[in-house]
């Protein structure tokens, strides 16, 4: 889609050219370093070393900047299904304790990503973006989100600990939620949602002095309405800061939450997944039409908004395209994975001097197959 040539001046602080150029230089250098690590016989993972043999170029010699990653064929997430998961662990990290995080898995074999320390690093970096006023250091957290083999579950706990607090969790099996929706058992779905909210309210009412929370939009709605029925609010229950995520995060939903659900508590939207980590948002404000624009944690991960047909070309600013993710950490190398989401390309923001994305939603050509539950 062509860019909007009548684009109105941004109400946020756009990054200056110098910062943009510096961040690009940093990304290019980081890309070369990460590719060298993953494709060197002494440090690379069995998967990428074996893969390199099939390539018609030598990544060690011919990847010197971010754009050189276009030489790789598109990453297929199907490769992430099944074992042995150790094929993804770089030799340079052999013998270190590893986690395996799963995504999907309602039916069949889930996709998995091995993690050593990445999730901690990602959330420690993200922690720096949280305003102290609403997410005070030392505060306890509630993780009102999925439990089980999820990266998110451990990450939130680590975030709380990193900031000097303790994380309280609930039991929530998102795979069961998806099955309830697929079976059309809507009464059971409501009952399961109530079961999750009951757990959350019990924690909040048990004197643990919880002030921060992670949750999803649907669970936040359900919690706010349940508290309202009890004559109280999220803010009165002690919560001052909420970090949330999901493609249901729309400007309208955010406006509704700010105006009617949060009672003054602060909320920051994020966009993330098991492969990338998480992208923070620039401030979501009424003057910006509650636009939610995400910026990836560059250079560890890069989001590009690419043309639907030519996925090596980014669309113009304001244009609509598919989300293309690149993960560049020493634990994980994912070059150019085409996500199941689409959105609009956003200009670099002063705090994040690289491209962002807004209006993230399920990729329209795949949307009919996407099921969004309470999680």
């Amino acid at each position: 889609m062509p860019a909007d040539t009548t684009e109105t001046p941004p109400v946020f602080k756009v990054a200056d050219e110098k910062s943009i150029a510096q961040s690009r230089e940093k990304l290019d250098a980081h890309t070369a370093e990460i590719v060298a690590w993953h494709f060197h016989s002494s440090t690379g993972s069995p998967f990428w070393l074996e893969y390199a043999e099939k390539l018609n170029f030598d990544p060690l010699k011919e990847v010197n900047c971010f754009d050189d990653l276009k030489k790789f064929p598109a990453f297929e997430d199907e490769w992430l299904r099944g074992g042995p998961v150790t094929r993804w662990i770089p030799k340079g990290f052999a013998g270190q304790p590893a986690y395996v995080f799963e995504t999907g898995g309602t039916t069949g074999t889930p996709k998995s990503r091995v993690n050593l320390r990445d999730f901690r690093t990602d959330y420690e970096e993200f922690s720096e973006t949280l305003p102290e006023e609403y997410f005070p250091k030392g505060a306890n957290w509630l993780m009102l989100g999925p439990s089980g083999p999820r990266r998110l579950r451990l990450s939130i706990e680590h975030l709380a600990q990193h900031r000097g607090g303790i994380c309280f969790c609930i039991d929530l099996d998102p795979r069961w939620v998806i099955k309830l929706i697929q079976k059309g058992w809507m009464e059971h779905l409501e009952a399961y949602k109530d079961h999750c909210i009951d757990q959350a309210i019990t924690v909040l009412e048990s004197g643990h002095d919880i002030r921060c929370m992670f949750t999803t939009p649907k669970l936040l709605e359900a919690l706010a309405i349940a508290l309202e029925k009890k004559g109280t609010t999220i803010r009165e229950a002690g919560i001052t800061g909420i970090f949330s995520g999901g493609t249901e995060f729309t400007p309208q939903w955010t406006r509704f939450a700010v105006e009617e659900l949060l009672d003054g508590a602060f909320m920051t939207p994020t966009y993330g997944n098991t492969l990338m980590g998480l992208a923070a948002s620039r401030p979501v404000i009424p003057e910006d039409g509650y636009t939610i624009a995400y910026y990836s944690p560059q250079p560890r991960a890069v989001i590009e908004v690419v043309d639907f047909d030519d996925t090596n070309s980014v669309v113009p600013y304001g244009g609509t395209g598919r989300v293309k993710l690149t993960t560049l950490t020493k634990e994980t190398f994912v070059p150019g994975f085409l996500e199941r989401d689409e959105g609009e390309r956003e200009r670099p923001y002063a705090h994040y001097p690289w491209d962002g994305i807004s209006g993230v939603r399920p990729f329209s050509k795949l949307a009919t197959a996407t099921t969004v539950g309470v999680y």
Partner: protein, 488 residues
């Protein structure tokens, strides 16, 4: 034109809007604010206000205001989406986004007007003569001098309305007159009737706190069904199955309405061909009350051929042509997909396509498609197509012995039985798989509004219960006749 959400008296402009375009030209027609399910859940916490606002008005006065609203809706100019809208504007806009010919849009307006104009008679019939004061106060004394009490089951009725059949709106029109508020989720392509009707009602003096309009995606429907004490949903056979047995939900799906020709009348089938044709083709075959199958023990080949000749020749005409009878399928690819499915079912043993000689049934437009009336003949009730129903004039003429009909017809919303055989009539009257029964050559689409449709709306919204009181408490109770708060 921007149709905002309406939160029981408060217009609400959403940041998300659904753009409605003309089904043929793609020109913009309106924008509709889209809200989320949580707004509905939150607003329903104050649903008692809707009923309380109605109960402050005398029930007879409410009926009079509804009659005024009916006239405004059908004949007047009302403000909808910040724009003055005449009946012709309405028909044009409804046609533009639903694909229904304008003449059928006007016909549906007349239906709604009839219901609102005859509200007093309808309520009298549906309540079996109960004074509306009894529903207002919760109890009273019947004309037999017996104390009766009715509990309202929900301060508002939630409705998840369809996009493809403006004829269904008659079902919810009596609700306000029963002292119950309305929470409407308009169909994505057909916001027109709910918005115009709400505007007419409010202009006629129905309290705006009693009406909510919540356009949005499926989560709005889910919130209505989860949080309204009583709700109504229109959907597919799968939707019907999903909510079957849920006392809080009245679900309306495919009707599988039929005409049954008794052995005593079948040899005179030519006398009834007009009734059959009208039952199949009226309102472009979109209603659950349109006939989708005709059962007869003999002459099925002749009946099918006669119907093919009578309605199979109907062709696509522009939506503003007064002679237009066929509605378009506005979702790109829908008409073609349906026709491909029908073709696969026609190509089975025991099935004959009677309209094959009348030219192609599928007509492709640039942005939409049409299906012309289709008649098939089945040599028994066994073929799958004998039990199919589609959103266009489609009918299977099925050969079946009379003594097997009731076992083979399956669920039937409207059955028109053309027979004078008293034994067969008795069997039909007692058959549990038939909802509305027409004895005699009445078109299936001809509804007597003084009779219940798929259950009595009053029985759905109110529960009859025992209430005993001493003389003293009666005085106290009557003195404090203010309505009780109704919890959900």
């Amino acid at each position: 034109m921007h149709l905002t959400a309406f939160r029981f008296g408060k217009p609400y402009e959403s940041l998300e809007r659904n753009k409605l375009v003309h089904f043929m030209t793609g020109e913009p027609v309106a924008e509709v604010s889209q809200v989320g399910g949580a707004i509905v859940s939150r607003d329903l916490r104050k649903a008692d206000n809707a009923r309380n606002a109605l109960l402050k008005i005398d029930p007879e006065e409410i009926v009079e205001r509804l009659q005024t609203a009916g006239n405004l809706y059908a004949l007047g100019t009302v403000e909808v989406g910040g724009v003055k809208q005449s009946p012709d504007d309405f028909a044009r806009q409804q046609s533009a986004t639903t694909g229904l010919p304008e003449s059928l849009c006007h016909a549906n307006m007349k239906k709604n007007l009839f219901v609102l104009s005859n509200m007093d008679r309808m309520l009298d019939a549906l309540s079996r003569g109960l004074s509306p004061e009894i529903l207002w106060q919760g109890y009273g004394t019947e004309h037999r001098d017996v104390v009766v009490s009715y509990q309202c089951q929900s301060p508002v009725l939630g409705l998840v309305l369809p996009s493809n059949s403006p004829g269904v709106h008659t079902l919810w029109l009596p609700v306000i007159a029963l002292g119950v508020g309305l929470l409407l989720k308009p169909g994505g392509q057909e916001p027109w009737t709910p918005y115009r009707m709400a505007a007419a009602m409010i202009e006629a003096g129905i309290p705006e706190e009693a009406i909510g309009l919540y356009p949005g995606a499926t989560d709005v429907g889910a919130a209505i069904l989860a949080d309204c004490g009583r709700s109504m949903i229109f959907g597919s056979a799968k939707t019907v199955e999903q909510y079957r047995g849920n006392p809080a939900v009245q679900v309306h799906g495919p009707g599988f309405s039929k005409i049954l020709l008794g052995d005593d009348c079948v040899d005179h089938w030519r006398d009834y061909i007009d009734v059959m044709a009208e039952s199949i083709a009226a309102n472009s075959g979109r209603g659950c009350i349109n006939c989708s199958a005709i059962y007869a023990s003999r002459h099925t080949d002749e009946i099918a051929d006669a119907l093919a000749e009578r309605i199979g020749t109907q062709d696509v005409r522009p939506p503003d042509d007064p002679e237009a009878t066929l509605a378009a399928f506005t979702i790109p690819g829908a008409a073609k997909a349906i026709w491909q499915q029908i073709e696969s079912l026609i190509d089975k043993p025991g099935v004959r396509h009677a309209t094959a000689a009348q030219g192609s049934r599928f007509v492709e437009g640039e942005r939409c498609g049409w299906l012309r009336p289709t008649i098939v003949e089945c040599d028994s009730p066994d073929p799958e197509i004998a039990h199919a129903e589609y959103m266009f004039p489609f009918c299977s003429v099925v050969k079946c012995p009379q003594d097997k009909m009731l076992d083979r017809i399956g669920p039937t919303l409207v059955a028109t039985a053309i027979t004078n055989d008293s034994g067969f009539q008795q069997q039909l009257i007692h058959a549990n798989n038939i909802d509305r029964l027409n004895l005699g050559p009445l078109p299936t689409i001809k509804l007597d509004w003084l009779q219940p449709h798929e259950g009595n709306i009053i029985d759905f919204l109110y529960r009859s219960r025992a209430l005993q009181m001493t003389a003293t408490s009666e005085l106290v109770s009557t003195a404090a006749a203010a309505p009780a708060q109704l919890g959900r």
